[in-house]
């Protein structure tokens, strides 16, 4: 064991660095899904579409503004603003026009409404952005790289992936935690998450909370997409790929738990990057293995609370 660490300790260190940045992205997408699920009790399959639209929009807006002389440093704020814009426009439209009609319906129906929306948005993306890969990487290039020592060698990492992605994820986590615990609106959201009936009985305007939460969740999905756009080429189908992993995160994290989502993303991000180093064929199934193991030990998810049924 000690010998193994001696041989592979350095690699493990690299895996850690890679795992952090991938965990950051996983978290940003999954936390929005989890927040929406906690409050609305709807697993939003179209969350992946919002991710994709966020990515495409951020790239398009970035390309448009760069062409008109936007300085390179402004590309990172542009990513964040694009995401906010996408969420602020699409969130309320989807919640008002679609989700509001089905809150009283069965879980499966709610799931399918978002599945239908996912199918529609998949084609909408294609109509708007075409099928050729789109990429706009000013943000990544402007930040440059940093050489991380690796024995006698060194490994260049992009500052964007090493610092910006985990950084924004941490800021989001801390900001969300502060918002949910310390602000009135945040506490209302938590109250609705923990006990919907009691909260509405206390006179909380559930409709407003739902609208707010969903919009917020949509912004987070779009933010995840926007932040992935500097490093990834955007093609049809990226939403479908991303959302599956987020499902696993939500179930593992526990209902509406943001800290749970953070820890789960970290485990999955690290698990995957370690797998790439030592057993690449396992990489794809690592998140599911983690999910199954966690749920075996904690059936309600990492940070989930057992819902006691009153009898």
């Amino acid at each position: 064991m000690a010998e193994w660490f001696q041989d592979n300790g350095l690699l493990l260190g690299l895996a850690l660095l890679d795992g952090l940045s991938s965990a950051g992205l996983i978290f940003l997408v999954a936390v929005g899904l989890n927040l929406v699920f906690g409050v609305l009790r709807i697993i939003n399959v179209a969350h992946g579409s919002l991710y994709a639209i966020g990515a495409y929009s951020a790239a398009s807006i970035g390309i448009f503004l760069s062409g008109r002389g936007l300085p390179d440093w402004a590309s990172i704020p542009t990513l964040i603003l694009s995401a906010a814009l996408v969420g602020a426009i699409l969130g309320p439209i989807i919640e008002r026009l679609l989700l509001r009609r089905i809150y009283a319906q069965e879980e499966v129906v709610q799931l399918l409404v978002t599945f239908a929306l996912f199918m529609i948005l998949e084609d909408v993306q294609k109509l708007l952005w075409g099928v050729q890969p789109i990429h706009h990487d000013t943000a990544m290039r402007w930040l440059g790289t940093i050489d991380v020592p690796f024995g006698a060698d060194f490994i260049p990492f992009t500052n964007y992936q090493l610092f910006v992605l985990p950084g924004i994820a941490i800021v989001t986590l801390v900001g969300l935690a502060w918002f949910l615990r310390r602000t009135l609106t945040g506490r209302v959201i938590v109250a609705v998450t923990t006990d919907r009936e009691a909260a509405t009985a206390m006179g909380i305007d559930a409709a407003k909370v739902f609208l707010l939460t969903f919009t917020f969740g949509a912004m987070l999905a779009a933010l995840g997409g926007a932040l992935s756009s500097p490093t990834a080429a955007l093609v049809p189908g990226i939403g479908a790929q991303t959302i599956v992993l987020s499902f696993a995160v939500v179930a593992t994290a526990g209902l509406g738990q943001i800290e749970g989502a953070a820890l789960t993303s970290l485990m999955m991000g690290l698990g995957r990057s370690i797998a790439v180093y030592f057993e690449p064929e396992l990489e794809v199934v690592v998140p599911y293995i983690i999910m199954v193991l966690v749920l075996l030990v904690r059936p309600q998810g990492l940070f989930g609370v057992i819902e006691t049924r009153r009898v």
Binding site: L11, Q132, P133, T231, V235, Q241
Partner: protein, 435 residues
């Protein structure tokens, strides 16, 4: 886009009273009012980066051919089917097009899985089927097909040519890593490569074999590992968005300074990558149809295709455009040959198919011959990525052309068996510099 209307009408008839006898092929063939082709290609999902340009090309070529009198005097009409929903849907659509819409020829497909599923239908439904893009060697090596022909090269030459180029360009490499998409092409192409490499240059150490999930958007972990391993050569047969993502992430971290990259399917991603493609790496195009081909056999035809595509769609043609064009020209050549053989009468399905065996048809760059097993022999051109004033993206320099026959497994032999027989002296004799 007037086609959907009539198609919809046909379909409406389909649900109510598609009650046409399904034995068209048995009846004496009459010259049809239009020559219908059914085209399967990806119109959604990640592979639509190939599918949509191919559809555009097909529509453009149909217009062009119809404007100049059609095929043997008959105008063409194409219907398109999306491959993305999966085999059961595709097989159903294939049958619908043949049995209900009465298409005269099928063009299929991009995905090897689709081709493997649909090619047997060509025999069952006795319908001329042109494999216009898929690359799996299994089709013609595991079976004989009377009605199916592939009008371009396939996996073996498309992997062997870049391998030979590498062995000529950097004969002293000792380590290699592979990073391919995790699906059949990614696995197959690696197996072909490794078999050929072990035969012609034994002793190369494979330091990493990575098959990231199909559709991955982040390769930073894989790149870190490659940076740490410092292999002499990195092979990736990835394509589309994934190749763009991989190269962007790799180039930013200067992986290209540590290892020589070999990218057999690079061409289609070059326009997207633009100037961010590093120079001096080995790139291929699944054929010889580079936009900067130094000496196309028919320059007027070549420029005509490239320019009219660019004018009409405001983008550079990529290899699926050329593959579609090859299929279309093969169709024209084959059908007209069959009609001529019949003295102007309209050939039956079988007569039509027979005309394709051994058919040679001109392409803008060269000539492709369909062997007796149905496989087309397409030349391969491989070169090093470079920039010039004519193109806003990387194109090859120091090109070597490999004749199709030289790099394809002979009829009746399995590719892996044949690759094992290659000797190191084959390297020097293969291919010739052009340009």
């Amino acid at each position: 886009m007037t086609a959907p209307f009539s198609r919809r009408d046909a379909l409406a008839a389909g649900f109510g009273a598609v009650l046409l006898p399904s034995t068209l092929s048995a009846q004496p063939a009459q010259k049809p009012a239009e020559f219908k082709i059914g085209v399967t290609t990806f119109l959604s999902g990640p592979a639509s980066v190939f599918g949509v340009p191919s559809r555009k090309a097909c529509e453009m070529l149909v217009d062009q051919i119809n404007a100049s009198g059609g095929i043997a005097g008959v105008p063409i009409r194409a219907s398109f089917v999306d491959e993305a929903p999966g085999t059961d849907h595709l097989v159903g659509e294939f049958r619908r097009l043949v049995q209900s819409e009465g298409v005269h020829a099928m063009f299929q497909s991009i995905s090897s899985g689709s081709c493997l599923a649909c090619t047997p239908l060509s025999a069952e439904l006795q319908k001329l089927t042109i494999l216009w893009d898929c690359g799996t060697q299994r089709i013609f090596e595991e079976n004989r097909w009377q009605y199916a022909f592939r009008t371009q090269g396939y996996g073996t030459p498309e992997v062997l040519a870049p391998l030979l180029y590498l062995l000529k360009h950097k004969p002293d490499f000792r380590t290699i890593a592979v990073i391919n998409q995790d699906y059949a092409w990614g696995r197959d192409s690696w197996e072909l490569w490794k078999t050929g490499m072990d035969a012609m240059k034994p002793g190369v150490r494979v330091v990493a074999e990575m098959f990231p999930r199909f559709g991955s958007t982040d390769f930073s972990t894989e790149i870190t590992r490659l940076l740490a391993l410092r292999p002499d050569v990195i092979l990736s047969t990835s394509w589309g968005g994934e190749l763009v993502t991989f190269i962007r992430q790799a180039a930013e971290r200067r992986l290209h300074e540590r290892s020589l990259m070999v990218l057999p399917v690079a061409e289609a991603s070059m326009p997207t990558l633009g100037r961010s493609m590093p120079e001096g790496h080995i790139i291929g195009t699944r054929g010889d149809h580079w936009n900067n081909h130094p000496s196309p056999a028919n320059p007027a035809l070549f420029n005509g295709l490239v320019n009219s595509y660019r004018q009409r769609f405001n983008e550079w043609p990529i290899y699926p455009v050329h593959h579609m064009a090859q299929a279309m020209w093969a169709l024209k050549a084959g059908v007209e040959k069959a009609v001529a053989a019949k003295g102007g009468g309209w050939p039956s399905d079988l007569e039509m198919a027979n005309a394709f065996r051994g058919l040679s048809f001109p392409t803008p760059t060269s000539t492709i011959t369909l062997r007796e097993d149905g496989q087309g022999l397409e030349d391969q051109i491989v070169g090093l990525s470079s920039f010039n004033d004519r193109f806003p993206f990387a194109v090859p320099k120091d090109m070597i052309q490999f004749p199709g026959e030289q790099v394809s497994a002979p009829v009746g032999q399995k590719s892996t068996d044949w690759l094992k027989t290659l000797k190191p002296d084959f390297i020097a004799s293969a291919g010739a510099r052009i340009g």
